[in-house]
């Protein structure tokens, strides 16, 4: 049994919630910000995995973005939650709380 594989599956499943959580807390975030925080929390290894997710959430109208010039690099896409995205995030967060309680209870 490969423990790394199982761990990475767990992290992958929670990535979406974590991305939304970061954006929710920051109000607005650009991908490199999000990546920085995810990396610190050990939730992501390969940066590339975040982009298909962001695009999917944007296409589902959970997220929206605006461009902003950057002083040092290329322009940045700042992502924020839409109104229904906010609702989506709250529901997802609620499910996560329930789930983690249940799991903690079962594995305690």
């Amino acid at each position: 049994m490969n423990i790394e594989n199982t761990e990475s599956q767990m992290r992958k499943g929670l990535l979406e919630l974590c991305i939304l959580g970061i954006i929710y807390k920051e109000n607005e975030a650009y991908p490199s910000d999000i990546l920085e925080q995810l990396k610190q929390a050990n939730l992501i290894v390969l940066e590339g995995t975040i982009y298909p997710l962001l695009t999917r959430l944007k296409n589902a109208e959970v997220l929206t973005y605006r461009w902003e010039e950057s002083p040092s690099g290329p322009p940045r896409k700042y992502y924020s939650l839409t109104k229904s995205g906010l609702e989506f995030y709250h529901k997802l967060h609620e499910s996560w709380t329930d789930l983690s309680n249940a799991v903690n209870h079962l594995t305690a």
Binding site: P31, E47, T49, T55, G73, P74, K77, S84
Partner: protein, 219 residues
């Protein structure tokens, strides 16, 4: 000796060694192929290019005159090879999304299935089942069937085969599937044919299993 070229990535002018450029170009092409069938492919590639440009800018600000192969190698390592990135956007939109997004999931037409209709039948309910499927008057199908019966005799055989092959709608859910949703279009019909064939295969397998069980018990 290396030639240094200038490339424009995400609107930034980046000096890069030629070898490194070739590697980078191949990487982006692999990504493009990887996300080929994904909705929002251009956005994903654009985002990744912006990230690459950003990482290069950081590298150039640290004082290096141009990007070389090892820089590109590091960037690719950071982002991850294409096959690890998972074409996630190909998945359907999350079903528990609130508001307008749930709507696109079930519009009925693709849910319609072919059943024999127990509520309106002359013999086995084949004709009225077919009529339901195409949303036309069963009388028309019956007339066609009668003509086929009389003209060649194929009609009778076809009817019997259809009787055997098409399942009777028993549960309310099956009845709903039989007549639910919108009339079939050619595309959804094609799609459903596949599903029907799957079901037929399953029924065949079930049947042969039952027969096997039956005979093995006899021995």
């Amino acid at each position: 000796m290396q030639r240094i070229i200038q490339i424009n990535i995400a609107g930034r002018l980046i000096p890069i060694e030629e070898d490194a450029y070739t590697t980078l170009r191949d990487y982006i092409r692999t990504l493009e192929r990887h996300f080929e069938s994904v909705q929002g492919k251009d956005d994903i590639i654009q985002d990744i290019e912006y990230r690459i440009a950003e990482l290069f800018s950081i590298r150039l600000q640290s004082g290096t005159p141009s990007i070389d192969s090892s820089d590109v190698g590091k960037v690719i390592e950071t982002l991850g090879p294409a096959y690890t990135l998972g074409a996630e956007t190909a998945e359907p939109v999350n079903p528990y999304l609130p508001g307008p997004y749930t709507g696109h999931k079930s519009t009925g037409s693709s849910n319609r299935r072919l059943y024999r209709n127990p509520n309106d039948k002359m013999l086995g309910g084949v004709c009225s089942g077919i009529a339901n499927y195409f949303d036309i008057d069963p009388v028309i199908i019956r007339l066609i069937m009668v003509v086929l019966f009389l003209s060649a005799g194929i009609g009778l055989l076809a009817y019997i085969i259809a009787w055997i092959v098409i399942p009777l709608a028993r549960t309310p859910q099956e009845l709903a599937y039989m007549s639910g949703g919108e009339p079939m279009t050619f595309d959804s019909l094609k799609k459903n044919m596949g599903e029907e064939l799957q079901g037929l295969k399953r029924r065949g397998e079930d049947m042969s299993k039952e027969l096997r069980d039956f005979f093995s018990k006899k021995k």
